[in-house]
Amino acid sequence: RLPREKPPPKPRPPTRWEQFARLKGIRRKKKTSLVWDEQAKEWRRRWGYRRAGGDPSRAWLAEVPAGADPEEDQFARLRREKRERVARNELNRLRNLARAHRAGSAVPAAPLHPTGHQDRDELRTVARVARVSTASLGRFQPRLPKESAEPPSRSGGKKRRFEPLLGNLAAERSRQLELLRDMGSKKPVLDITRAVNKQLRQEEAEAAAANKGKKQSKRGKRGRRQQRPGRSGKKSGARRQPQQQKKAAGGGSG
């Protein structure tokens, strides 16, 4: 026997009838394939060629039921009702199919139920999903005390945002005056990121130098002679250049 070519089918959600049947406790009755036809006195198949009830297309008599209109065409009524039954069946089949398809693509609800073993990032994601799962997409949801006030942008911070056109003009003016003051003063303005990066780079350089020192002492004279040209050539030169540029840029813009 060969192994399966395609993966086994995924379990699909129960249809409306299956739900109802489970509720009521209705079980499937196994039907026999042959039925005893009293008229023909033999076993005929349930449906199909030479079925038990006779050929329905050759039925020549259609009784008018008790309360029906005498003028109505019974054959037409039978045909119409059959068509309606078929159509309803098809509609329900498609509905079940759509329901199964929708259920498969929706976000599984398992993460939204707290288990007590979730880590902080998972809980944050889940909280965000829960907040956004309202009719207004979370716009009017009250926030927790420690949650950030500004809702995270849907584009993930990619779109540029500008000041409003007719915003507070007095505030804009004061901001510009302050900018002018900063530009006018000769001292370079402290840029936190730059200062921190510079500090980190210095520390890294010191650590590297310390490591190199240790290696040199182990190798002895030969190691020192071999390593020195490399040290003075590439690394320290490259390290000096960005520092010089930074200092020049810091002094020029101030």
């Binding site: 000041e163 409003p164 056109l165 915003g167 003009l169 005056l177 002018l180 530009m183």
Partner: protein
């Protein structure tokens, strides 16, 4: 139309500062009204609050120019000052250059100012300092080198018309060097002149 970002404001103020120094705050903070800078299609405009509110109701495609265009941002985000800012910057200019009537026409056609055409220049002008170029037309006493004062006005001469700003420039040489160079050396690089109103009529806003 939108307000300038922090970086854009800094670039504009740096450029303006080259010409008028710390007098920019007189432009930003005016006693006779609230004026602001706005960006429209990469051009920086200077307009009053009243005009801003009117311009805000015009659709972007139809809006040609709100206020006065001071300059534009190039594709590489450098700010380029245009001649339409002259009337606002000239009164506050710190360093001025006066051009003789003979070479005034040449400057208005877009050429640089040579030493032979230089009338006067403010003292202590550094090299590559932004200057405003004035004309010296109808001035009775004109000499080749730079001078401090007017010298005697003379008797019976008609009063000279007030010097009108002709454009912007960048000093190619400092005042001290200007005295020593030969007459055909460039002393002021041309940046913008009022002749552009005729030459670039189609593209000025």
């Amino acid at each position: 139309m939108r307000p300038l970002t922090e970086a854009e404001t800094r670039a504009v103020f740096e450029k303006l500062g080259k010409y008028i120094g710390e007098n920019i705050q007189l432009l930003v903070d005016r006693p006779d009204g609230t004026y602001c800078f706005r960006l429209h299609r990469d051009r920086v405009y200077y307009l009053s609050e009243k005009l801003l509110k009117l311009a805000a109701s015009v659709p972007r495609e139809s809006l040609v120019a709100p206020g006065t265009c001071f300059g534009k941002f190039t594709k590489s985000q450098k700010f380029r000052l245009s001649v339409t800012a002259l009337d606002f910057l000239a009164p506050y200019a710190k360093y001025k250059v006066w051009v003789k009537p003979g070479s005034e026409q040449s400057f208005l056609y877009g050429n640089h100012v040579l030493k032979s055409g230089l009338g006067r220049i403010t003292e202590n002008t550094a090299q590559y300092q932004g200057v405003v170029v004035y004309s010296m037309a109808d001035v009775p006493l004109v000499s080749a080198g730079p001078r401090r004062g007017w010298g005697g006005q003379g008797l019976g001469h008609p009063p000279s018309p007030p010097p009108r700003p002709q454009g912007f420039g960048v000093a190619a040489k400092s005042t001290q060097e200007c005295r020593k160079v030969d007459p055909l050396a460039i002393v002021v690089f041309h940046q913008a002149d009022v002749g552009e109103y005729v030459r670039n009529e189609d593209t000025l806003t």
